[in-house]
Amino acid sequence: MRAFTYAAPTDLSSALARLGAPGTHAVMGGGTDLVNSMKSYIETPADIVDLQGIQELQALDTSGDPVQIGVGVKLVDMLASQPLMQLFPILQDAANVVATPQLRNVGTVGGNLCQRPRCWYFRSVDFNCLRKGGTECYAILGQNQYHAILGGLGCFIVHPSDLAPALIGLGAQAVIGSASGTRSIPLESFFIGPEVDVHRENVLVPGEMLVRIDVPRPAAGQRGVFLKSRGRQTWDFATTAAAVSLVMSAGTCTSARVVLGGVAPVPWRSPDAEAVLQGRSITPAVAAQAAAAAVKLARPMQYNAYKVDQVQVLIQRAILQAAGQGGS
């Protein structure tokens, strides 16, 4: 770890003012990713702004439209919010399978969305990879069983968040704050792939931070499902994941969102799969067609072709479950 100054402001405007000052800053939610990233010199901020004392970032307001989730809300508290879980069972699917009790007890919504990728070349101090400012991606010719099959360009990380696909499936907005005010963008545009900038995973620039996630109240007949595959049954990142949110009306799908995790450098929304579902009654054949459309452009590498099959199975199951056709 490189040395840093530490501050725990108690109001958001002080935190944003500190972030806007010259120097390299990092905001810290639960710190579970940041602290360990600093140990391996992936993050080397000179100043840490700890958000745990800022009450307004921990607010969870389910009464209005949109539902507002502060970035400081811990995953354990999110799961404990009955109103939120009843409104959006898909968030329960996703938050329940994040890491372990110890990590959910401190990890926050904002931290989950802004965590750095798990690529072992990126995480290792022994590899100065493209994302860390080096000149090559070691996964291309290396051990790439957990890497991207879609959207990789020069760098083949996968985005590690489970919450992100579920929230994008719900049409969430990301509220970004800085010393000069706030702006709101669709959460799917919050994440950026290597084709935009290979050194970061989201649009945040120095001085900015995520402050809130806004989720529109569910439409009548809306139902979402999140499914995750992983190497072991607990405490693991997704090899692949699928978030499907459908609005069903009289047996017909009137609106669909299909968002994948573990397959691309960003939470991967698939308009092709959504187009297959739109206006159709959902059958196993339609679900299979949508799943095939989602991976049409997949380009697996030497060791990750299994993801193409695995994610299709998850997409099909999630579509059928979201359409109320149960099964597994």
Binding site: T5, Y6, T100, N128, G133, Y138, G154
Partner: protein, 220 residues
Amino acid sequence: MEEGNAGPVTETPRRMTRRRFLGKAATVSAAAGAASAVLAATSDAPRSLAATPAPTTVGIAPYRPPVYQDITLHVNGQDYNLRVDTRMTLTEAIREEVHLTGTKIPCDQGECGACTVIMDGRTVYSCSILAAAAQGHDILTVESLEQQGQLHPVQAAFIAQDAVQCGFCTSGQIMSVVTLLKSNPNPDEAAIRQAIQGNLCRCGTYTHIIEAAKAAAAQA
């Protein structure tokens, strides 16, 4: 990991040791050969993609002096006034400053669970929390369990059920089981498995740990 107090005027974040050099050289040579053409193509193309300047993780970074901070940690019911390097983790503070060494540091990256302590009634990985950030929280370590020479029922059950082999994960496992039994005095096996999912045991003593948790629940 820690940098010296009165270190030299430069520091290298990625110290190249002989072992690291050999390890890396082996990886690179294994991937070389037929692959060189692809490497050349991939290493050139992405550079133009960079919209922000590359982070400076290579080479010699400018020296940054350590920052010390006065903090108060509330551990096992007692306040400890400490002056710590801001980089110090809660595990390090508990072990090196408070001198309670029951909390272990096998992985030091939130992947094993042996550093589990209870913070405000919930289990946490103390290796992944800065000591400075643990101020104002109520922290319990495994040393808090024994009362007047009497082992906590969970500790006694771990011994009775032979739930220990090498013992490195044990204090973390015990803290997870103690926390579970506080909220759920009669857990079924699924609840026990859920509670210890964040504690690895590389000796594979899980079945005995689960038996110990059941025995402690039955006793309470």
